[in-house]
Structure formats: structure tokens, C-alpha cells
């Protein structure tokens, strides 16, 4: 749905064109996931499947509550359960995993296909399937290991933050379905204020390190967490403590880019020189005959 026609594009992958600049006042949106209110019921997962018409395959249990066991092209959000022993006490840390909608999105930076990944002015990062070439660079570019490439159509998929709902003033399906209001949605500013109230409540209950997860290494995120243990995000099924875009992306898009372009130019020049010095490849009668046989199914 996102072409350069849209006035709401802030950034576009692999493009040098400057997006429309008129609309600058868009509110930054954010989804706030309060793990201290989350009961791991997976209503968000069900809502995601239903709203997005995803037919995830029915799998098997691996002896945990993680089902499906990982993000897939048809499961854009999954609950991840971690049993954390702290002395004699046990905590069951439950985290809703999915795209974090980074303000500085590694996927978008890594993507070589023009317009396959866009960032809207409200902060949402979305994949535009018709432009996706299935190269998987977004997977490498993502510090949260979120995008998945479909084996069916070789396109990358992930949570859209229900951009189709948000653009008509609705909250994402997961937030709508959450029975305990563990998922809040609104302006990023409001979400930060709300998080502060929750953090104060958690601190009063003995979680001294409670805090907001909005990692600066990716410019902050448009999906944020309230964590009981904000000092140790990795407790929550490996949520990165300090996520950053892989240096390889910088390398590829930075230093490597002119070198690569030079290599491509060199290959072109070499080919041209080879053509004028050696002439074109000739096709012999034998080659034609073999090709005919292959086409008719006779060939080896």
C-alpha cells in the first residue's frame, strides 16, 4: 500500500528519492507491552492470526508453552515463556515477541530493494511485498531477529503494527484483544507517561529495577516494554540488552557500497572489452540440436 504517492512515508528502502516533506506533524505512535500485566493468554496471537488472515500450520508441542515455537511468516507475534529462579522464588517471565518498529530500522537500512521496506511518518515500519525480492537482508539487518522469509513466495513477513487499522484510527488487533490491558496503544509520548505510572507501581511492589525498554541503540522503538527487570532485558527470552544494527549493514551500505559499485562497473567494462577483443559467443549447430532435445525432454 505504500508507494511514493503516500504522503505518510518518512523513509523508503534503497531509495535516494526524498519522500514528500509536507506532512511533518504526524504523531509518533507506540505500542506499550506491560509484561507485569501480561498473563500469557495468547489472545494477541489469536487476534493477529484472525485480523491478518494468517493460516499458521498446526504444529506440535515441544514441551513448553511456546506455540508456535518461533516467529514464522504466518505467525507475526508469539509469546515467549521463561522460568526465572531468583533465590527461592520463581518468576514466570512472559514476553510477547514481534517487530519492535525501531525508529532507526536495521531492516530498512539493509534492504537493497527499492521501496520494499518503508517507515511511515508515525514511526511504523512496514514491508511492501510487491517490492520485496526475498533476499533476506532484512533478517540480517534486524537486531531483534524478527523478519521471516516465506518458503511459499520468497517474501519477507513480520508484524505491520496493524498499519491498516492504525491508519483509520483503530488500535492494533493485539491491543484490542488483550483482556488485561497489558498492551496499550497510543502516541509514544502518552505511552511513556503511562509506563512511568506502571513502573512506580512495580517499584512499590519490590521490583526496584523496573523500567521502560525503549533502546537508544536503534533510535528507540515504537513497540516498548515495561519490564520488572529492566536492568536485565535478556532474561526475557533473550530480548537484546543493547540492540544495535549489525555493523555489516553499515559496512554494506557505507564503505562497501562504492567498492561494490566499482566492482560492478569493472565487470561491465571488462565484459565490453572482452566483447570487442574476442567477439560474441557463437552458437553451433550441435548446441542447437542439444537444446531442442532438452526442450523435448529427450536430453540428459
Amino acid at each position: 500500500m505504500a508507494t511514493m504517492q503516500s504522503l505518510d512515508i518518512r523513509r523508503r528502502s534503497a531509495s535516494t528519492e526524498v519522500p514528500p516533506q509536507v506532512r511533518q506533524s504526524a504523531i509518533q505512535v507506540a505500542k506499550l507491552i506491560d509484561v507485569s500485566k501480561c498473563i500469557g493468554c495468547k489472545a494477541c496471537q489469536a487476534a493477529c492470526l484472525e485480523w491478518n488472515d494468517l493460516k499458521a500450520p498446526i504444529g506440535y508441542t515441544d514441551g513448553t508453552y511456546n506455540n508456535p515455537t518461533d516467529l514464522t511468516p504466518t505467525s507475526w507475534t508469539v509469546m515467549r515463556f521463561t522460568e526465572y529462579e531468583k533465590g527461592d522464588d520463581l518468576e514466570w517471565l512472559i514476553r510477547k515477541d514481534g517487530c519492535m518498529h525501531c525508529d532507526d530500522p536495521g531492516c530498512l537500512k539493509a534492504c537493497p530493494a527499492p521501496g520494499a521496506i518503508v517507515q511511515y511518518t508515525n514511526g511504523i515500519v512496514d514491508f511492501v511485498s510487491e517490492n520485496c525480492i526475498g533476499c533476506g537482508y532484512c533478517v540480517k539487518g534486524c537486531p531483534f531477529n524478527v523478519p521471516r522469509i516465506s518458503k511459499v513466495d520468497r517474501k519477507a513477513y513480520k508484524c505491520t503494527l496493524c498499519v491498516d487499522r492504525v491508519s483509520v484510527g483503530q488500535a492494533p488487533a493485539c491491543a484490542k484483544a488483550c483482556p488485561t490491558q497489558a498492551i496499550y496503544f497510543g502516541s509514544k509520548e502518552d505511552m511513556i507517561v503511562h509506563a512511568e505510572h506502571r513502573i512506580a507501581d512495580l517499584k512499590s511492589r519490590g521490583f526496584e529495577k523496573a523500567g521502560l525498554y525503549n533502546p537508544p541503540g536503534v533510535g528507540g522503538t515504537h513497540v516498548m516494554y515495561v519490564l520488572n527487570h529492566a536492568d536485565k532485558p535478556s532474561l526475557y527470552s533473550g530480548l537484546p540488552d543493547d540492540p544495535r544494527i549489525s555493523p555489516m549493514v553499515g559496512l554494506w551500505k557505507g564503505v562497501m557500497k562504492p567498492i561494490s559499485l566499482a566492482a560492478i562497473a569493472f565487470a561491465g567494462v571488462f565484459g565490453f572489452l572482452h566483447y570487442i577483443t574476442k567477439g560474441p559467443n557463437e552458437v553451433s549447430d550441435t548446441d542447437e540440436r542439444k537444446a531442442d532435445d532438452l526442450a523435448k525432454g529427450k536430453g540428459a
Binding site: C38, T61, W92, I94, T180
Partner: protein, 816 residues
């Protein structure tokens, strides 16, 4: 619920025990989250497993399945011993001061009046108060007499020391005392605790007594009738509250009236024990209106055929010899005593304990009619599904007829939720294919039966021929007509008792409330507690006004809460004997000088002044609530800890009476119970939030979210058995065995019971051999065929098993 879902936001402390609200009631659990976030409430979870509710709790304590009474009696001992009770409330509003007959005793695990041969308390006459010449119960206001209820209670719970609780329940003493302390903080007038429970308390041979224990705690704390208080049953199915209200038990009729027994051959006999005269001066004893509700109900059943001359068609009612609960029905089927069975909205093969016995029973029927929107294991009980249902179809002669019905979204009608709120729901879609609504199927069946009886006569056709069936379309009644019939109406003009020249009700007028019901045949009403749901002002269950004028979570114009649109029961008790709120913070219903007022409908005569000293528990003839249950329970006036029938240990309190002495055990099941030498692991069954019973395994999204049966076991047990996450294990009980994948977890730690470590294993109930989820052994293969002594709820929550590593099940053969 005595209170309501919305009311939970008013609480200061939530105790989830005997339930798992976050997982089994996630939508209602929002009110706990609300109370925590905005009322500073704390959440305690006591559960054998560290559940998803425990994941958001402030305090969690483990407990061995089936030992809740020991825990709760220990809490009572703590509250009484540390003066953490609401003294004034307990004295004024409970039977704490009543004197109990000298005949009442408790010795070596048995209350007085036990008959060893009949396994029953045959003589319960001692389980009562002492009465004076006027028939009034004697009391000692000073609470000094050792025969006072409160002193007998103290003596009874004295044995439940924290050490004893730890020994029986496996709950570490420090955790137990921490929880006692937190509960004790709500004995003040400005703090309340709410109790949320579900099948974790009911599905035991001591089920009803589990809940009574909590009711007693809430009375001692002064938390009944208070906002944010109460004893709150979380109902599982949509409208299971409705079916309960409309006579769930085989010995009930709608509105918690009682079906006559075979000994009550006349209406006069029946009413003899239902006079409900007050046993304290000036008390309401509201059940004195029993006859009005009964006669109105008979009029709604039999219309003009119910007359004063025929005792309101009393003879048309069946008279019961014993209760015909699910366990009894299965036992009779298995004994070959039944020809046919209608299974409507019930997947008996999965829902009744001891699947092998159910299977055998269904195989002996001549015919089975399954009325259900889904394919069920019951309808396919005769099919071979490999080891998941290894039967020989050729050997089964039962004729199975499946009548597909609409689902809840494909028809309209009312449903009653846990808060007792009756809410209308509208049809959202047409049902597929040839489905018909349950009501249409039953109407068709009735009309055919009536025709057959009219034509052929029979031993006693009168009740069928005279059954009221006044619907505009007798073959498919409109649900609104049925709700009107349940609400009730005036059969003829009813004069105003205060001024006979005026009419109170004109003929045909819908009844505004149950207060106008009569025992002279002038009113009709199917279920007195529902009266007021459909009045001349319209269908109250359709109301959807989401406003809460006082902010107390009352929502008075949303649906209709029975009785009388009251949201918190016993709410008169939220004010002190003088009618003043116990505290400003918990102000709810109070006397304003001329009447009772507040955000809710008072549970009391609206203009009876406090100085009349009418007790707030108006349903009881004493006007007070009962710490001592008199003879109302079959297994004792005080709760007592008994081991589950699969007993893990000899009862440390009285080893000679280990299990509930009055449990009903069928002769066929004499060897159905396991012993710990062979089955040394304690197991419990439970629900997963991703599934609803045996339905959602047919729904794609739910099947994706929890695709396959597993059993949960702690790391110690898994290590001892050489089992890792995802390995196949075989779980065996005295009844049979199942295979499942292992879920090895830190959330099930071994607990120390009677000095030795006890492993607990959990099995979710949802999986079977029909549906989209992976085929599985129905887990009710494992569960014991025995029920609660009071109401026969099966003991699904505590049984003994053994477990070992095994190979995956062989793939089942394809079924046409």
C-alpha cells in the same frame, strides 16, 4: 458469585485458590489487574502449579492437590488465635454466639451420628442449636459458653497448626504464615479480600466444604456483603450459571427449589419441612415464601391443569429416590440398566471420569442421541482411533443419532454470567446446513411425544399432555417468549392487598418482581429468582447502559442481575447494626433515617429500620450467617480435612478415617482407587487458556496456539525418570494410562508432605481424538469415578499416578 466481576476492582486483596483465573477466565481477570493497578491490591495465588495467574501474583504458595481444607482451617486458626477477625461483624451477623446441642461431637475424624454400615451420618439431630420453649435458638452474647459456635470452631481448627498445614499441604510454613498475615489485614472495616475460585475447589470429594471454609473465613473477616469482598465462583461455560439457576442438579427445580422425594407423596408432606419459621425473634426468613415460588412454578409448568384442588398438579412432578447425577448415569449405563441416552451439549466421553467405564456404558446402550454443534468423541465413541480409542466397532451395537445444532452465535436468547447478570445475545449468523437450534429440536421432540401420548395413552400421560406450551410457534418458540414465561405473569387480576378496590396486577401482566408472587394460583413464574428480567418495561436482559454512576462497579442498567437486579448479595452487611457503613471507604448500602440506600439494590426489606434488629442474612431463619452449618451438609457442620479417594498419605489428623467417610462409592468401583505404593505421584487436571474445554480443538487458531497434549512435571521427577522436554511419557493411574509429551518445568517443585518429598504432575483436559489438534488420549482415562459428598462433582483435581518414559503412540488408522 456473591459479588460481581466488576466489583473485584474494589478489593484490597485477591486470593486466587481453587482456581486459575488468569488462564481459565482471562477476560474477567482484567478486574484483578484493575484492582492491582488502581486500588493498590495485592494478589495471592495458592495452587499446586505455578500458573499464569501466579505469574502476575505478589505472593505464590504451593499446595498439594486436595488439601485446601487443611490450609483454610489453618487460616481460621491463625485469624481466631491472633484476633484478626472482625469482632463486631462476627458477633452480630453470624451464628458465633449460638449454643450447639450437647449431642454434637467430633471425634477421630467423625462427627456424631455416623452409621458405619450405611456410610452416612444417619442421625444429624445433634448438629443443631439448642432451642428455648418458643423454638428460638439459644445464644450467649458474651461468647463465653464453651458450646458457643465460635468456641467449638476454635476447638475444631486448633489442630491445624502451621506445622500441621505444612505436613498435610506441603506449603512451607513461612509462606503459609505470610499469607495468613496478609489475609488478616482485611479484618478491619476499611479493607476487604475477595476470594476467586472455580473447579479447583469444587472437583473434590470435599468440594462443597472447600467453599464453605472460605465462606467462614470471609465471615470471620467481615468481608461478606462488602464491596471487594465475597466468595466468588468463576463459572466456566457461557451460561453455566443459567443452567444452574434453571435446575442443574437432578434433584432441583428452577430457582433452587427442591424436587420432591419419593417419601413426600403429597403436597402437604412436601411443605411440612418447608415452613421455614424464624428461629430467632423478628427475623425475615425469606424462604417462608417458598410456597409462592413453588405454586407459581407449577402454574408455569402446567397452566390451568394446576389447581388448588389437585395441589397444583403436585402429582405431575417426578419424585426422586436417589440423585441421577452424571456419575450415577454412567454407572447405570455400565451396569446395563439404561436403554437410551440423550447427550445434549455434553461430551460425556471426555467430561465424565474414567473414560473406560463411560466407553463400556455407551456400548451397552441401544441408542444414543447426541445433540451438539460439533463432532464429539461421544458421537464417535464406537470408532477405532488406534490406541487413542481402541475399540472394535463390530462389537458395538449402539445406534447413534447426531442432531447438529446451532452454536451460541447462531441463535438468540439469554445467558447468565458468573456475576448473576442475565444478558441477551442476538443471532450473529445463520447456522450451516441443516442445523436447528436446541430449542427447535426439543420442541419437535416434545410435540412428537405429546402426539404419541395423546394417541396411545400410557401409564400416566397427564404431565405430558398438560404441559404448558403457549408459544406463537410451538415448533420453534421465540426465546423472548420463553424468558417471559420464566419471568412470570399474572394469570388473573390480582387485587392490591393494601387496598382491594385497586388492582395490583391485571391478568396477563408480566410480574415486576418476585415479591408479588402468590400461592393461590393467581401468578405464574418459571424461576422466581429471574422475576424482573422481563417486565412490562421490556426485556431487561437487553439493557446495555455502560454507566456506573457511583464508580463502585455496579452498572445497574446493564442487563439484569438476579435476584432483583442486585449486584452484591447480603449487602445489608456492609453497614453496622445501626445501619452506618462500617467505613467510609467501603460504604455501599446504609440506612438514611427512613430507608436503606446506596449504589446497589439493598438485600433487605427497604424500610425496616436498624433498631428492629433484623439480621442481614435474610434467607436463613436465624437471620445470621452460619459458621456452623447445622445439618445442611451431609459431611459435617464444620469442614474437615479428608484425603482424596486416591489418598497420598494416611490422614495425619485421624489415620482411621483418611477419606471423606460419606462419599458415595459404587459397588462396581470398589477397586477403582489407587494407592501410593503403586502410584506415588500426585496428579491434578486443569485447563489451558488457549482452549475451551473440548470445543476449541475444532478451531484453527486455538489449535495453532496449543496443538498437542502434554503433561507437566517438575525437574526432580523428570530427572528421576530420565525424561526431557518433549519426550513421550506414559502416565498410569488405577483406571488406565495415557501417553503424552513431557513438559519439564521449574513451576512444579516437589513439596514436603508428611516429611517426604512429593512430586506433582499436571494434565490438561482438552485433547481427544476428534478435532484439529493432534490426536491424543482423552485424559479422563486417568480420573477416579467418585464425586463430592454433597453434590457429586467428580474428583478430577486430585488423584494418584505413576509416570515413565515411553515411545510415541503408533499412528492411528485412518477413519472414514
Amino acid at each position: 458469585m456473591t459479588n460481581s466481576w466488576n466489583d473485584i476492582k474494589n478489593t484490597d486483596l485477591v486470593l486466587v485458590m481453587g482456581g486459575n483465573a488468569a488462564e481459565a477466565h482471562p477476560c474477567g481477570f482484567k478486574w484483578v489487574v484493575e484492582a492491582k493497578a488502581n486500588n493498590g491490591a495485592k494478589l495471592i495465588v495458592v495452587d499446586p502449579r505455578f500458573t499464569r495467574t501466579a505469574a502476575v501474583a505478589d505472593v505464590y504458595a504451593p499446595i498439594r492437590p486436595g488439601t485446601d481444607i487443611a490450609f483454610l482451617s489453618g487460616v481460621m486458626r491463625y485469624l481466631l488465635g491472633n484476633n484478626k477477625i472482625h469482632q463486631e461483624y462476627t458477633k452480630a451477623y453470624t451464628n458465633a454466639s449460638y449454643l450447639v446441642k450437647p449431642g454434637f461431637k467430633f471425634e477421630d475424624g467423625l462427627f456424631s451420628g455416623f452409621d458405619e454400615g450405611r456410610k452416612a451420618y444417619v442421625d444429624r439431630s445433634g448438629w443443631d442449636y439448642e432451642f428455648d420453649e418458643q423454638g428460638m435458638a439459644k445464644v450467649d452474647e458474651t461468647l463465653q459458653d464453651p458450646r458457643c459456635v465460635i468456641n467449638l470452631l476454635k476447638a475444631h481448627v486448633e489442630r491445624y497448626t502451621p506445622e500441621m498445614v505444612e505436613r498435610i499441604c506441603g506449603t512451607p510454613k513461612d509462606k503459609f504464615l505470610k499469607i495468613c498475615e496478609m489475609i488478616g489485614t482485611t479484618s478491619t472495616s476499611d479493607r476487604t479480600m475477595t476470594s476467586m475460585y472455580a473447579l479447583g475447589w469444587t472437583q473434590h470429594t470435599t468440594g462443597a466444604q472447600n467453599i464453605r471454609s472460605m465462606a467462614m473465613i470471609q465471615l470471620l473477616l467481615g468481608n461478606m456483603g462488602m464491596p471487594g469482598g465475597g466468595v466468588n465462583a468463576l463459572r466456566g461455560h457461557s451460561n453455566v450459571q443459567g443452567i444452574t439457576d434453571l435446575a442443574l442438579l437432578s434433584t432441583s427445580t428452577p430457582g433452587y427449589l427442591v424436587l420432591p422425594t419419593e417419601k413426600e407423596t403429597t403436597y402437604a408432606d412436601y411443605m411440612k419441612s418447608r415452613a421455614f419459621k424464624p428461629i430467632r425473634p423478628g427475623q425475615t426468613s425469606f424462604w417462608q415464601n417458598y410456597g409462592k415460588f413453588f405454586v407459581s412454578q407449577q402454574k408455569s409448568f402446567f397452566g390451568a391443569a394446576a389447581t388448588k384442588d389437585n395441589d397444583w398438579a403436585y402429582d405431575y412432578l417426578p419424585k426422586f429416590d436417589v440423585g441421577y447425577d452424571t456419575l450415577k448415569i454412567v454407572d447405570m449405563m455400565a451396569a446395563g440398566q439404561m436403554n437410551g441416552l440423550f447427550c445434549q451439549g455434553l461430551n460425556l466421553m471426555m467430561a465424565a471420569p474414567n473414560k473406560t467405564k463411560v466407553q463400556a456404558g455407551l456400548s451397552k446402550l441401544k441408542w444414543l442421541v447426541v445433540i451438539d454443534p460439533l463432532e464429539t468423541e461421544t458421537a464417535r465413541f464406537w470408532e477405532n482411533h488406534g490406541e487413542f480409542n481402541n475399540v472394535d466397532p463390530k462389537a458395538i451395537q449402539t445406534e447413534v443419532i447426531v442432531l447438529p445444532t446451532t452454536t451460541f452465535a447462531e441463535d438468540e436468547g439469554s445467558a447468565t454470567n458468573s456475576s448473576r447478570v442475565i444478558m441477551w445475545h442476538w443471532k450473529a449468523a445463520e447456522g450451516p446446513g441443516e442445523v436447528r437450534s436446541d430449542m427447535e429440536i426439543m420442541s419437535d421432540l416434545f410435540s412428537r411425544l405429546k402426539t404419541a401420548y395423546a394417541k396411545d395413552g400410557g401409564a400416566f400421560p397427564d404431565p405430558i399432555l398438560n404441559l404448558t406450551w403457549n408459544y406463537s410457534n410451538p415448533h420453534n418458540p421465540d426465546a423472548a417468549e420463553v424468558l417471559k414465561e420464566i419471568n412470570g405473569y399474572a394469570v388473573e387480576d390480582v387485587p392490591d392487598p393494601a387496598d382491594p378496590s385497586k388492582l395490583l396486577l391485571r391478568a396477563g401482566q408480566l410480574l415486576p418482581n418476585f415479591g408479588v408472587m402468590r400461592d393461590d394460583g393467581k401468578t405464574s413464574g418459571g424461576c422466581w429468582i429471574y422475576t424482573g428480567v422481563y417486565t412490562e418495561a421490556g426485556n431487561m436482559s437487553m439493557r446495555r447502559d455502560a454507566s456506573d454512576p457511583t464508580g463502585k462497579g455496579v452498572f445497574p442498567n446493564w442487563g439484569f442481575a438476579w435476584p432483583a437486579n442486585r449486584r452484591v448479595l447480603y449487602n445489608r452487611a456492609s453497614a453496622d447494626p445501626n445501619g452506618k457503613p462500617w467505613s467510609e471507604r467501603k460504604k455501599y448500602v446504609w440506612w438514611n433515617g427512613s430507608r436503606w440506600t446506596g449504589p446497589d439494590v439493598p438485600d433487605y426489606a427497604p424500610t425496616v429500620a436498624p433498631d428492629k434488629a433484623v439480621g442481614p442474612f435474610i434467607m436463613n431463619p436465624e437471620g445470621t450467617a452460619r459458621l456452623f452449618a447445622r445439618a445442611a451438609m451431609p459431611d459435617g457442620p464444620f469442614p474437615e480435612h479428608y484425603e482424596p479417594m486416591d489418598a497420598y498419605i494416611a490422614n495425619p489428623l485421624h489415620p482411621k478415617v483418611t477419606t471423606n467417610p460419606v462419599v458415595r462409592v459404587f459397588a462396581a468401583d470398589a477397586n477403582a482407587f489407587g494407592k501410593p505404593d503403586k502410584f506415588p505421584i500426585v496428579a491434578t487436571s486443569y485447563r489451558l487458556t488457549e482452549h475451551f474445554h473440548y470445543w476449541t480443538k475444532n478451531a484453527h487458531a486455538n489449535a495453532v496456539l496449543q496443538p498437542e497434549l502434554f503433561v507437566e512435571m517438575g525437574e526432580r521427577l523428570a530427572a528421576a525418570k530420565g525424561v526431557k522436554d518433549g519426550d513421550w511419557v506414559e502416565v498410569t493411574s488405577q483406571r488406565g494410562s495415557i501417553k503424552a509429551k513431557a513438559c519439564v518445568t521449574k513451576r512444579l517443585r516437589p513439596i514436603m508432605v508428611d516429611g517426604k518429598p512429593c512430586d506433582v504432575l499436571g494434565v490438561p483436559i482438552h485433547y481427544g481424538f476428534i478435532g484439529l489438534t493432534r490426536k491424543a488420549h482423552p485424559m479422563n482415562v486417568l480420573t477416579p469415578p467418585v464425586g463430592d459428598a454433597s453434590v457429586q462433582t467428580p474428583e478430577y483435581k486430585a488423584f494418584l499416578v505413576d509416570v515413565k518414559k515411553t515411545t510415541p503412540p503408533a499412528q492411528s488408522p485412518a477413519v472414514a
